[in-house]
Amino acid sequence: MEFARGIMPALYLLCAMLLALVAAPAAAQLTIEITGAGEKRLPVAIVPLAGEGALPASISSIVRADLERSGVFRGIEIPLLQPHPTETSRVDYAEWRARLADALVLGSVAARPDGKFEVRFRLFDVVKQAAMGGVAYTLTREQVRATAHRIADYVYEKLTGEKGVFSTKIAFVVKRGAIYELQIADADGENGFFVLRSNEPILSPVWSPDGSQLAYVSFEQKKPIVYVHSLRDGRRRVAANFKGSNSAPAWSPDGNTLAVSLSREGGSQLFLLNPDGSNVRRLTRSSAIDTEPRFSPDGQFLYFTSDRGGTPQVYRMPVAGGGAQRVTFEGSYNVSPRLSPDGRRLAFIHRNNDRYQAALLDLETRQMQILTDSARDESPSFAPNGRMILLATVIGGRGVLSAVSADGRVKQRLSVTAGDVREPAWGPFIQ
């Protein structure tokens, strides 16, 4: 009891300190700036939902910002409407056509007796003069942003035929002074929080296919070690800590296997292991560098970086083992391969006259396209719908994230004040 009495105040103090830590603006706000847009953007009218003033944030503004950020849509200005239309109003299509809207969203928010809210909305095709569907959601005050992102996903999918990524998350590393934070935020940069804070570098975060875990490399033991961190209960465990360096984790599509680069047998070679660190087996046997593995979406192949041909290039080999084929040929430095979700394109970093630029290779036509005009691109990461690629770059001496559409037209920049952002990883669709 003496012992317990002595230690309890210390514990409470520790708790108070931890609470203070998280209550503070723990994660710096990512701000997003749109620096390029698609050529033809579909004009949409997102009318403020009737009664949305009762919510802590404007759902219609968030939906509009989401849709505009995609580069596919342009929100049109909404005049003061009397009476204010809702999802049940009779739509005056001629009037919306005159405002040059191709699509229209109307809706309403109602407070419920239990303190929650009900949001209803309906999407209309103004050109075809037809309702395209609608949904009702029940939400708490804390779920306003999440609900708005779901509405934006609904609108995006109805109008483009592709799934939206507004409800997904991104992970990235922020370096501020000598402090490294692995952070997670919504795809629009909001709701950021840190998962891990360290005095030593953190790099290469990758999401498990179900979005419940992150694998990453941490230098907290003065050398690279691969960890797997559960986002459900915050438990982290070592996946690979062998003699030498342990790095470059990648998840198999079924989530049952990690590919990593280990130097435990000399050199940097590819190994497969279970996410709990068991069942380690060597995959490549070269005297070259083999690193940065990524599984193809069907789980059959590994794409990776190797200098076995004299310069670092992207290769591909069967996960079951066997010979590797070279994939990139243009230039003397092509690294960090990432497959598109449909497996048909490869994003990577290409050195072009001393500039490191994100490039995209169509694996069928072999056409290569450089996506940016920057000089220090790193770590490309596809959005789960394959539309955008998030990458790290350096602007004005500071690390920022940049998102670029697969056609190179739509561009956004994500930055934090007084810090470097790097090592982005776009999370999967959450069911």
């Binding site: 998280v22 998962v195 790099l203 003065k222 690279p224 915050g234 465990r237 790095s247």
Partner: protein, 176 residues
């Protein structure tokens, strides 16, 4: 959500009040309790602490042993002839101090992929290790790892900074 996990943590800490709690690695904070490592072989050499005499031998500026860094040309990982006496001196020290362990950290400049640079730094530290073993150090005395471009000695993106950062450092236990 965040507050919820802290509450869970506090509850767990309180529940453990009668038993010593495990320490996290220094300087690392994760959001919850229960960080654990299992099912892996221990990494990193660990040996006896340095004696005062050994420490003196390793830090005397007049001794070649006080020099720990080997620098490289761009995209190169061979130990240049000018560093051979330095590596020989450390190999001799390891031979004569069988309990002594060394960690070699390979480093690169900040151009290109972070992960590829880990592999390049590894190639540099592996080269130093190979040379030490050829000169009589034992395999279990030496671990070669890479810090890639993550721990630059010189900040900035200039030729001078890059030259400082293309480097292997030989560190003895207690020095890293």
């Amino acid at each position: 959500m965040r507050v919820f996990w802290i509450a869970v943590l506090c509850a767990l800490l309180a529940a453990c009040a009668g038993t010593p709690t495990e320490q996290s690695p220094a300087g690392v904070e994760d959001r919850k309790p229960g960080a654990e490592a299992r099912g892996v072989e221990a990494g990193g050499p660990s040996g006896a602490e340095l004696t005062a005499a050994q420490r003196a031998a390793l830090t005397d500026p007049a001794s070649p042993l006080s020099k720990r860094s080997i620098f490289y040309d761009f995209d190169k990982y061979d130990v240049k002839p000018e560093y051979r006496p330095l590596v020989e001196a450390h190999a001799k020290f390891l031979r004569e101090n069988a309990g002594m362990k060394m960690l070699i950290q390979g480093n690169t400049d900040d151009r290109g992929s972070r992960e590829y640079n880990i592999a390049l730094g590894q190639r540099r530290s592996d080269g130093v290790k190979r040379m030490l073993l050829l000169l009589g150090a034992r395999e279990d005395q030496v671990e070669s790892v890479s810090l890639g471009e993550e721990k630059p000695r010189a900040p900035g993106s200039t030729e001078e900074a890059w030259a400082q950062n293309r480097r292997s450092d030989m560190l003895y236990q207690g020095e890293y």
